[in-house]
Symmetry: C3
Subunit: 137 residues, 3 copies
């Protein structure tokens, strides 16, 4: 299996970070025009992955939805770190830290409007790792 | 990798569309009684996949839950198309457009009550594509 | 493909059950220090999987969040079984019954704080099956 571990900077605000260019770059180097599946994985307990359209407002919509479903208040049992940190620990149950995307002829078989995004509500971690793995079929 | 792209009609109402028969048909043709994993993928930014029981009311329950968590109102930044269209762009972060299901001896290893369903709140798109890929183990 | 079906006891209360030790044991026996992907699958229509931190309060936080998003009341169409049973049938659309985790050198490539947990709100089923499958790369 071809696999690599990336480091991405998500900053100190809730973030939606586009991973699609990195995924394409990885496949260009590793997939050799083969068919298979790209598995994207975030080895963190306070981050997730979403396949959404970027650049048309859905980033703000998603963060607003998560702020409503998982408020940054004092309700959380898991309560070290910044106010509302516990919400970031529940998020991966709803926005999972893994995703799989078909690869055809070495290219991501995404839809026109789909991107692969890292979702990070955790304002205490500025840097995140992402593992990309290519399983050829 | 064996892979195919299906076209399914979801109509102009929020829809829960059963893909299980198509998945079974695909495996019958391609999996040749092998073990592996079926990857189901929707190449759209406003649709998702859910593995739920169908035919006992959960379709309506799921659509009602999504109507509550992601209301079809004017709150969304992403706001072209029909009223509430922006909710459809957030949905794939919660109801992901990929799923993986084990295949044993060429058959889906689903539980008795599980089906594979396409979830489509988007009333502006009547037709959707679904990619099925079989990774043999 | 190496695959096995486990039986786990989740009891008669909403449960977050750690599957990580079983996953490690399975890989020790089957993965032979290879690279690949572990696919975890719950063949039930009322259970899901979450990759979260365990042992710091997030179990209670997740169950409280699910109690709010999917209340155990009489709103559900799917309404046989215990009060609120219908919520358990919607949960897998949000907390999916599949997960994939990279395996490097026969070991789960999880982050330090990540565990693989079975989420079961269904108080009518005390025992659950879980399928583990290893796809080598």
């Amino acid at each position: 299996m071809h696999t690599t571990l990336l480091s991405v900077t998500t900053g100190n605000q809730p973030a939606v970070h586009d991973l699609t260019p990195e995924c394409r770059r990885f496949l260009r180097g590793e997939a050799e025009a083969a068919d298979g599946v790209l598995q994207v994985f975030v080895p963190h307990a306070t981050a997730g992955l979403a396949l959404i359209e970027l650049g048309s407002g859905s980033e703000a919509d998603l963060l607003a939805t998560l702020a409503e479903l998982l408020p940054a208040d004092r309700r959380w049992r898991h309560s070290h770190g910044s106010r509302g940190h516990g919400r970031s620990h529940v998020m991966p149950a709803l926005v999972a830290p893994y995703a799989t995307v078909p690869v055809i002829g070495g290219e991501l078989a995404l839809g026109t409007w789909q991107s692969i995004a890292l979702i990070d509500l955790n304002i205490d971690n500025r840097t995140r790792e992402v593992r990309l793995s290519f399983l050829s079929g």
